[in-house]
Amino acid sequence: MLLDSLRKYYQVFVVSISEMFVWKLNFVLWRVRVVLQLLLLYFLWSTVFLQQEVVFGYERAQILTYIISVAFLRSFVLSSRSVDVAGEIRDGELTNFLLRPLSYIGWWWARDAADKVLNIAFALVELSLLWFLFRPPLILQPNIVLVLAALAASLIALILYFYFSFLLSMAAFWVAEAWGIRFLATMTLEFLAGGFFPLDILSAPVFRALQLTPFPYMLFFPAKIYLGQLGVGEVLTGFGVLISWTVFFVWAVQAVWMRGLRTYGAEGR
């Protein structure tokens, strides 16, 4: 029974991968965009270290490792196709899914998994290419426990972001144009998650306040674990907050989904 259920989602996964290969050029150019964003940060930080060896308590190798690991994390933590959920609710296409014997959230998980697999594959190729071209000094974490802890934090962060993104999209149940909320969230998330710089370069009160929000746990926290810059206590506290936020968003999505379905009018169908 469970196997049958999983097979359905596996098929969604396979179809999603095939679908992406239909628009090969589109996908490749999407990755070009990602590389351009990385180049900006890489060269900006490289310039910062031209005159100084330590900036904000970071050495050059540490900051470049941070930037590159965040770029890698972004490729699978912050890549979610659930952005399209809002459009499906608004145009009434959600009805098609409600009539099918599958979970709508499960469907999006399967599509996201396909997206993430491709993104990881491309990110590995791009980052290898960049390493080959620029030979940045990178830190390879020798402590396997830290690598595994960073990986675990990334996987939980991935779940957290999926439900966070899904929750944003569900605003379409009540608001015709949910793009405003999505745009605001996207613009702020990149910074608050530590996508541009390690958040601990901010003043201590701002950093402490940020640690109470879910955002730093999406990129900053896993990257810092990998760098080995957090103590055991900080790692455990971080995991506690990360898991708490994840549980909250899973619950919030379920609750909002049930309420949303009650108001869903299938307009456009």
Binding site: L44, A176, T188
Partner: protein
């Protein structure tokens, strides 16, 4: 004003060119007003979108400020200079988005076949697709940005020549931006395989949020000569600071004319090969 749009009778004593300009100004005014009304019909969306734009600006501003403060001089530029580069980038970016916003909706018109309706109207399809409507959201962000440019710019004490050259290069940057947007339109007609060409342009220009001197060769050369985003955003700011490189200045004006010419050729060629999606 609106009535003049629908009439072929030009007032006595006016030239054809005058009438043509009036007609296009009318079209632009009417479609921009319609775009204003559409945007304002979703006030909450407008507020959130504006907030997103302001946050993005402030966060990166803060980031650059903290970096240049801590390092004293980034690649030899002071904090004020680094901020001015960023503001100049924003100025060119916001004005070109405000003017050329219609390009962002162009692919949808091609895919659905509604571009046929544009072609059947007595207005240049290029004008309609490029400058079809002004973006009110960018228009709203422009005044505070201009104030910031003036406030930071005054602290750099530019000479009159630098100021004039800066303004001329900003105009030149908009011509290059127009060339890029026309090329994106033409590409949209030629192929429907790419749905975010304009966003690639945006990401390329975003590399000029910092002076392109930050990049190593060959990237710096590419950003100056091949994809001249450095000419668009870094060169005007450098000239404002009194850093004149005459060959680069000459190249800046040449590349805008050549780029515009090439993109127009591409557009007319693409238009000749257009096959409607609805036919």
């Amino acid at each position: 004003m609106t009535r003049a749009l629908f009439t072929n009778h030009y007032p006595e004593g006016t030239s054809f060119a005058y009438s043509l300009i009036t007609k296009y100004l009318n079209v632009w005014w009417v479609s921009s007003r319609a775009a204003f009304s559409t945007a304002l019909s979703n006030r909450a969306g407008v507020v959130l979108f504006l907030a997103g734009k302001i946050f993005r600006f402030l966060f990166f501003f803060l980031f650059l400020f903290i970096l240049s403060q801590r390092t004293q001089a980034l690649a030899g530029y002071t904090t004020t200079q680094v901020i001015f580069f960023f503001l100049t980038f924003n100025l060119v970016d916001v004005v070109s988005q405000m003017l050329f916003r219609e390009v962002y909706w162009f692919r949808a018109q091609i895919v659905t076949g509604s571009f046929d309706l544009v072609l059947s109207r007595p207005v240049s399809p290029l004008f309609r697709s490029l400058l079809g409507r002004i973006d009110i959201l960018d228009l709203l962000t422009l005044p505070p940005l201009l104030i910031l440019v003036v406030v930071v710019g005054v602290n750099l004490h530019p000479s009159s020549l630098s100021l004039v050259a800066y303004l001329a290069l900003l105009g030149n940057a908009l011509l290059i931006a127009a060339a890029f947007h026309i090329a994106v339109l033409a590409l949209g007609v030629v192929t429907t395989a790419i749905d975010h060409t304009i966003m690639i342009y945006r990401d390329l220009t975003a590399m000029a949020r910092v002076p392109i001197d930050f990049y190593k060769e060959p990237i710096r050369g590419l950003l100056t000569f091949a994809i001249p985003v450095g000419i668009m955003m870094t060169t005007p700011a450098k000239v404002f600071m009194g850093i004149f490189e005459w060959p680069v200045l000459l190249y800046a004006f040449l590349i805008s004319v050549a780029g515009l010419w090439a993109s127009l050729r591409f557009w007319y060629w693409a238009l000749k090969n257009y096959s409607s999606a609805s036919s």
